[in-house]
Amino acid sequence: MKITLKVWRQKNAQDKGGFKTYQLDDVSPDMSFLEMFDVLNEQILKKGEDPVHFDHDCREGICGTCSMYINGKPHGPKQTTTCQLHMRSFSDGDTIVVEPWRAQAFPVVKDLVVNRSSFDRVIQAGGYVSVNTGGVPDANEIPIPKKIADEAFDSATCIGCGACVAACKNASAMLFVSAKVSQLAMLPQGQVERKTRVEKMVAQMDEEGFGACSNTGACSAECPKEISLENIARLNREYLKAKSSSDNV
């Protein structure tokens, strides 16, 4: 396959950046999108130029590191991660535009690499369960209905890749925050900190500069883990309940 790439190049956070066009003449349809980028970088290195920096880690669709905004969509045309996107999803002679995630809260580090620590700070604000030390509790000591356990698990499958923020016209982190609030709000272990958690996580989300939710549904449509919009409704509910009844003034 012959592919023309328009890739965002930016030296550092201060640099203005711009697109650079590259030509690849021998791309296998069985390559993953990242492997195609490896080939591109070899080509660039041979010329003695600076290779394109991009984030990647597991290349198994589990970690969510491979952030790339491909042809107007996070992770490209398929609802998956960039590493699980294959070149057969494109046609011979295609021009592909590759950009970094764009959000105030995700500043560009270099080229396609963005800093997603704002997500970490949201989790640090309350996305955990405090565990007191002591004996290990017996398995099945706390009964949880299968349906609830499944729902909580569905929410917990969020890998924090940031595609929801990248896809949202407001760069809102609602889908991410709602999944992280939901997975704990539905389980007995999460009850102790339930109200404080949602208050703190939403406050941190706003603090980081993510936008508000317009309920367009673009986030869920692009989420590689198919996190549903029900989570956002649950977050709205949890927040309203917490704000109207918690002791935090």
Binding site: N71, E99, A171, G209, A218, N236
Partner: protein, 219 residues
Amino acid sequence: MSSTLGKKLLMALTGLFLVIFLVVHLSGNLQLLLNDEGRAFNVYAKFMTTNPLIKTTSFILYATFIIHIVWAIMLTVNNKKSRPVGYAKVSGSNSTWSSRNMGILGTIIFIFLVIHLKNFWYVMHWGPVEMVKYDGVEYKDLYATVDVAFSQLWYVVLYVVAMLGLMFHLFHGFASAFQTLGLNHVKYNPVIKFVGAAFAIIVPAMFAAIPVIIYFKNL
């Protein structure tokens, strides 16, 4: 209420209140189509501007409009700040057009609202408007004012365009309000979606039909 979630909650609540207002407004407007030289409409207009309970409600309505507009501007400004550098290429296939353009649709409705208020609401309150007598009681002849306005093609076109804007605004807004209130349930989602879509089509269409019918009547 200062958080993004709080602001959106206010948008949802005011939006749903405005939806109720649309029903009341439409039921009043439909009296324009009665073949009674505007008698029922004029009596209704007087009632709506003099009854103390309605007057109190109207002030709540003005506040609702202002909150819905001002908070929308605040949210939009904040949302734009959340993405200072935009994308070169954006695919719109992951969401509906109206859900992404509520601000533009709202602006169309707002421009219409200003002209609409000036033409009818202002005239009804502070004139000039002709008087008419039914059974010895004086009424402002708002029907005559409406009749004149709806005989002008530009006004009818503006009206229809604004109602199209309202249609798409409601198409997203109605169901979206429930999601913001946290009401998302497998059992009720199809109902909310259906009622929202039906409301978004029927109500603006009926609003728009009135000036069109009067325009052709007066030709």
